[in-house]
Point group: C2
Chain length 348, copies 2
């Protein structure tokens, strides 16, 4: 791929509207050195484009008159609105005219559209949403973040393989370690799902399974990839966001409480900014939808232009590193193929 | 109760040993104005006591020669070691010689011992572990934190009633609001357990059910009580601890990076300390084991003396506010009694 690749960006998604998406997409495309396919209502996209320098970026605009709201039922919306921006963007990826898709819209609709238009990678039953989160050692890939709220053990095994391939290709981590999120480190800990999944992962060839990890281990960076069901993963990600916001609010209130503190805080502004940047989830560039037959990045609905730019960079990396092909190869590998009906047999 | 109440403290539990537990217990007992029953190996307790001023505290020492390790299987250990400190402490509560129990030992063993010796409150099928966590509006009670990893909907209904009673009596919150932790706010969101529990809570009289809440809502203080299964609750609590530690580590590294920053940080030390104290989980005083027929507080294994002192204060408050009696009355109330076999019928 590489040469001449285009990233299709759903310009209608997100809380801030097309102007923010277009600004971020242009920035990301320039930094990644890729072409841009902006998908949405043409007049709004053109109005947003007019306010920006477009020099050196190969820009295409695809009209998509239908709009899916953040509150609409994903599967129904995708069936009823064939010309919604997320569907048109996925069709651009399906036809090969775009190498990847970025959307900050209704994430359920993005998943439904990707499944409908791009389909699944052979051997994957359910896609998963994966994102890097900050850790003391750099970053940890956490999946699933909400695609599958009640997975079976075989699904978690697929998530482990997809997460491992993604961390290696996009995160640049050689032989990533994989942990299973649980309520204790011992192999006997966990709810029923975790207890049934543990032996499957322990017997699985092709990934470096560490064992169970706890909630504190995500931010400590004990492993490179943390696998969990979409319900728990979603709660974990949002708790992390909430605690980050709580600390920032408490710090802001305390360091502005008196004049001497305000002055000292001014001196520490670069330090605060560095911490903020390190812990800012928008820096991680959105979540990847793994398991669909194409590179799809789901950005947070709250994404600002910086977050969209980072999402474009992640989408470009996922496409150019051929994550889909690597997941397909990992799933198809005869060694350690997961056996959904029981523990896999270790291969000599 | 009140007059002459004693708190039984398991002096053998915790990572720091009896000296730390005894120091914290003395501090807590003095502040609460209660007597102290220290339970464990008498010689170790006497050695720890000898280094402290005991003026004005009514101290009793109960010998418990058996020790349960942090890694021992809870139910087995409790059966094999009848003279372990947690069992002797629970027997003191059962006989009425102590009003409450505090332990920083193996939490599974504490639960097993409490169930064996104190039994359950009539109408409660499974006990739950509950703790206040810091929020932007003060604090939120989160339960279950790991007692029941695979509860049924009827168990979550009992948790909601117990959490509501505890928040009211110990947290001093009139008519606390109760949220069900989910991966989205809409009533249709959630895994299967949450989707089955939602209508039961919505139809339940006697609690103020808010609806589904997300991970971010815990720290935002959207509701007073957040109910979840023990697996998710344990992960959520540990993710919160981990993110807190990550922020502290990042801040420490940045504010000590240069000399001017170090000086400015010195000026902000009181501000940092105030933030730390607000977000310090040891300030919350440990988790309550709700549903057993006695006041039992489980402190973190890592508890320092301050955390143990706070746990003694919480235990005293739970006992003097008669949490057990209030949970019993709530469960026995004819209005809105939960129907474990199906949705509760709303009462006019």
């Amino acid at each position: 791929m590489g040469h001449g690749m285009r990233i299709a960006v759903d310009a209608m998604g997100g809380d801030h509207g097309p102007a923010t998406i277009v600004a971020g997409a242009l920035d990301g495309a320039r930094r990644a050195g890729v072409g841009l396919t902006l998908v949405g209502q043409t007049d709004m996209i053109q109005a947003a484009l007019a306010t920006h320098d477009q020099t050196g970026i190969d820009i295409e605009v695809l009209d998509a008159p239908d709009v899916i709201g953040m509150d609409q039922h994903p599967a129904q919306a995708v069936r009823r609105l064939p010309n919604a921006s997320i569907l048109v963007a996925c069709r651009a990826a399906s036809s090969g005219s775009a190498g990847a898709v970025v959307s900050a819209g209704n994430s359920g609709a993005a998943m439904a559209a990707a499944l409908l238009v791009l389909g699944r990678i052979p051997g994957i039953d359910r896609p998963a949403i994966a994102s890097f989160v900050p850790s003391e050692r750099g970053r940890t890939l956490l999946l699933d973040l909400g695609a599958v709220t009640d997975p079976r053990p075989a699904h978690l095994v697929q998530f482990a393989r997809m997460g491992s391939a993604y961390a290696e290709r996009v995160g640049g981590i050689a032989s990533p370690t994989v942990g299973l999120l649980s309520n204790g480190e011992e192999p006997t800990k966990g709810n029923q799902l975790v207890q049934e999944t543990f032996p499957l992962l322990a017997a699985l060839a092709g990934i470096d399974f560490y064992g169970n990890v706890e909630g504190t281990d995500i931010t400590q960076g004990v492993v490179d990839v943390v696998v969990t069901d979409g319900f728990t993963g979603n709660v974990a990600l949002k708790v992390a966001e909430g605690v980050g916001a709580l600390v920032v609010a408490a710090l802001r209130s305390e360091v502005t409480a008196t004049l001497p503190r305000k002055l000292a805080a001014l001196l520490l502004r670069p330090a605060f900014r560095a911490v903020g940047s390190k812990l800012d989830y928008s820096e991680t560039g959105g979540a990847a939808l793994l398991g669909v037959n194409g590179a799809v990045v789901i950005a947070h609905g709250r994404s600002d232009a910086k977050a969209i730019a980072n999402a474009v960079l992640v989408a470009h990396r996922a496409a150019s590193q051929e994550v889909v092909a690597h997941i397909g190869a990992a799933i198809a590998a005869p060694l350690g193929a997961a056996n959904p009906s029981g523990p896999a047999t270790p291969t000599p």
